[in-house]
Amino acid sequence: MTERVLLEAKGLEIRFGGVVAAQDINIQIHEGHNLAIIGPNGAGKTTFLNICTGYLKPHKGKVFFDGKDVTRLQPRHLVRRGVARAFQIPQLFTEHSVLENLLIAGAAQSRRWSPFRPLHQIPERKAMLHLLDMVKCSHIADRPVSELPEGQRKLVDIAIALALKPKLLFMDEPTSGVASSEKFEVLDIIAEALTEAKVTSVFVEHDMGIVDRFADEVAVWNRGEVLFRGPPDDVLNHPDVIRDVIGEEV
């Protein structure tokens, strides 16, 4: 059975002055997978995420989502089509509590914005509380996000993205900044939430332990190009990947 292609990049190219950040990128992302993007610093991994989520426009090439050309769409239009994003540095509303962050996302998704219905009474409240439960943050619902440790900020950021009911979620280093002792715990919570929400994911990651544990496919980026793609066992044990990206065996 052929797997459905959710997102496809064709011939993407972008340069920042003389630096080539993407050069003839051709890649398909299939529904139901968790694709990890690895590569050295400056390989163009985040640039690819930025293009696919509408933050950057490529100089050449196109991005198709659900078969439709979305290359020139603004981030907010991509979100409405089902592409969400979680950030390397969690992007939260720092004057609001954890629950309020989710409620704002829930209201944005439903697009029911009665100007006189209090935020805390929107119909999506129950679903948002469930989302908080999914990412194990129910106990901090009323805390201001500005007071949270990095691990919880990451989880809230991902919960916000899931509140948008995406088909595809891009995550930029989902465990960066999280204490080593908590990384796997945070990752397992994210993985469980994504499975429950039935969301396809693409994530950039430097930690090969995380990649090995979470990804079912790995793509290796270098100098703006996709060098390899395949199952984690094959890619992470490839001698060229070990030499150029990992530096040691996982």
Partner: protein
């Protein structure tokens, strides 16, 4: 105890304002103007929630005041509610046109562009003498109230209580608006506009909604002030007036709707009585008051009250105050 204070003190202030003209009739016009101005300040506070300061919101105060004056002039005195309605509609219409342009900008550029547009309007009022009366302005004849022609004293009394009811209603509706999803989204423009866009929401459109709401409030205040004063002059749209609105917002506290009216009442009282008893130094007194507010109560009088009664002042108001 704290809960009671927070409920009782605002209620007592409203009651005192409602009763004061009965005990001291000379305060009636002062209170009417202070509350009218408070409505305009409320509009400025709406924008402060998004972290944007407008130094040109007197534009909408002036547009509405002149629209009300034209209605009065064109219909031999006019009817109070139609003057108010047309004044507000005029300010809303202008706010859509100006707003579509200025919401593309943030911070100092947003503030200065608003100032520029308001000064263009001010110049037009000055130059088109045959239409606007130039620097002399236009007189606003006492309008009918629900079709009834009233004597001056009776009309001023009715107008005062109408302004009080409208101020309370506007404060309640604005409070509801700011606590709604769209009001909260507007607040996120200050903290994380990027995330707002990544929620599928246009930050510009969200700010435009807030801008139109704020202009409507300024417009209502302007039309009421025009009727209360009986004359409109270009000074309604002058930049000093815009600065005054920002000053009052900081003085009263930009974190709550009550701050607009508390600040406005205090400001008008200080201005009136200080200019009467200390004519040469009243502006210095106001300056010193503002200095103290910024240094010791950056969240304004309402923020200070909240702190004293144990409630944490909102970071929004602290930041806006700074």
């Amino acid at each position: 105890m704290q809960f009671n204070l927070r409920t009782v003190v605002p209620s007592l202030i409203v009651l005192a304002v409602a009763v004061l003209p009965l005990l001291a009739p000379t305060t009636q016009v002062l209170l009417t103007l202070a509350l009218s101005k408070g409505l305009a300040v409320l509009g400025v506070i709406v924008l402060l929630q998004a972290g944007q300061v407008s130094f040109g919101h007197a534009l909408f105060f002036g547009v509405s005041a002149y629209a009300a004056a034209f209605v009065g002039k064109g219909f031999g005195g006019g009817e109070l509610f139609s003057m108010l309605a047309i004044g507000v509609v005029a300010s809303l219409a202008i706010s859509v046109v100006v707003g579509l342009f200025v919401v593309r900008y943030r911070h100092i550029f947003f503030g200065m562009l608003n100032l520029a547009v308001s000064m263009i309007f001010f110049s037009l009022l000055e130059k088109f003498y045959h239409v606007t009366g130039g620097s002399d302005g236009l007189s606003v004849a006492r309008p009918l109230f629900l079709g009834i022609e009233m004597e001056r004293e009776g009309f001023e009394m009715v107008l005062f209580y109408l302004v009080l009811v409208l101020a309370l209603g506007a404060a309640w509706l604005t409070h509801r608006f700011l606590n709604s999803p769209i009001g909260n989204m507007m607040r996120t423009i200050k903290t994380n506009e990027v995330r707002l866009e990544y929620l599928g929401v246009s930050a510009r459109n969200t700010l435009l909604v807030g801008y139109i709401v704020s202009a409507g409030l300024c417009g209502l205040g302007g039309a009421l002030a025009a009727v209360a004063q009986g004359v409109v002059t270009p000074e309604y749209a002058w930049w000093i007036r815009s600065g005054e609105f920002v000053f009052i917002a900081i003085l009263g506290g930009s974190g709550s709707v009550g701050g607009a009216f508390v600040g406005s009442l205090l400001y008008e009282a200080v201005r009136t009585y200080a200019s009467a008893f200390a004519g040469d130094v009243w502006q210095m007194i106001l300056g010193i008051v503002l200095l103290f507010v910024i240094l010791f109560a950056p969240s304004g009088i309402t923020g200070l009250f909240a702190r004293l009664t144990g409630r944490k002042a909102s970071p929004a108001s602290e930041e806006a105050g700074q």
